[in-house]
């Protein structure tokens, strides 16, 4: 069964550095999402992406964050000037179309900012 794949599973970085989290959505899906979960808290929406542009973003998604679909298969989340509070599990999701309303999630990347 097709899966959303995220790499790496765990990323450790120094505060102030840039990180790129990578996701390979399911191949025929058109809608892409990033969510995050700080330890002990709820899974929170970050951003949705369709047709090579951001559809919606939350207040968490400040100007240090960006997303890109560089080659038609990967979907990346870049965080510049990382802060301690960026430490969280980041989940990528994809959806075939909005009518089906079903988002398929990856296993997540745990980001640790030291």
């Amino acid at each position: 069964e097709p899966e959303v794949t995220q790499t790496p599973s765990h990323q450790v970085t120094q505060m102030g550095q840039e990180v790129i989290l990578r996701c390979v959505p399911i191949s025929n899906h058109l809608y892409f999402y990033w969510y995050r979960q700080i330890l002990g808290q709820k899974v929170e929406f970050l951003v949705s992406f369709y047709n090579n542009e951001i559809s919606e973003k939350s207040e968490i998604f400040d100007d240090r964050f960006s997303v890109e679909r560089p080659d038609g298969s990967n979907f990346t989340l870049k965080i510049r000037s990382t802060k301690l509070e960026d430490s969280a599990m980041y989940f990528c999701a994809s959806s075939e179309n909005r009518a089906k309303n079903i988002q398929y999630f990856g296993a997540g990347t745990r980001l640790s900012v030291l």
């Binding site: 899966e3 959303v4 809608y31 999402y33 969510y35 808290q41 709820k42 899974v43 929170e44 929406f45 949705s48 369709y50 559809s55 919606e56 939350s58 989940f91 959806s95 909005r98 309303n101 079903i102 988002q103 398929y104 999630f105 990856g106 296993a107 997540g108």
Partner: protein
């Protein structure tokens, strides 16, 4: 703004028993979707069951069923004949039914379910 509340942080039941996970939500929307997602340890979240708010009939998927009470804004998940593989974190979730691009999922904090042998 929509909120989803799961009041049971953790539960344990014996294998083969039936267990019910609670979820309440708050919204002013009339049309929306509700979901239960399962996240086994170190694995991705997978969709267990989906309910469309305009449907009165409760959704069922094999051993999983929901009790959807729209007026009470309650959406509980019942797992019958529980199995060891049901051990996981379970998230209740909400999505507006929207004609624009607002299709983000709002999650509860989750209930960690342990099935005991």
């Amino acid at each position: 703004a929509q909120t989803v509340t799961q009041s049971q942080p953790e539960m344990s039941v014996q294998e083969a028993e039936t267990v019910t996970l609670s979820c309440t939500y708050d919204t002013s929307e009339s049309n929306y979707y509700l979901f239960w997602y399962k996240q086994p340890p170190s694995r991705q979240m997978i969709l267990v069951i989906r309910q469309e708010a305009y449907k009165q009939q409760n959704a069922t998927e094999n051993r999983f069923s929901v009790n959807f009470q729209k007026a009470a804004k309650s959406f509980s998940l019942k797992i019958s004949d529980s199995q060891l593989g049901d051990t996981a974190m379970y998230f209740c979730a909400f999505m507006k039914q929207s004609m624009n691009r607002d299709d983000k999922i709002i999650f509860g904090k989750g209930t960690r379910l342990h099935i005991l042998p």
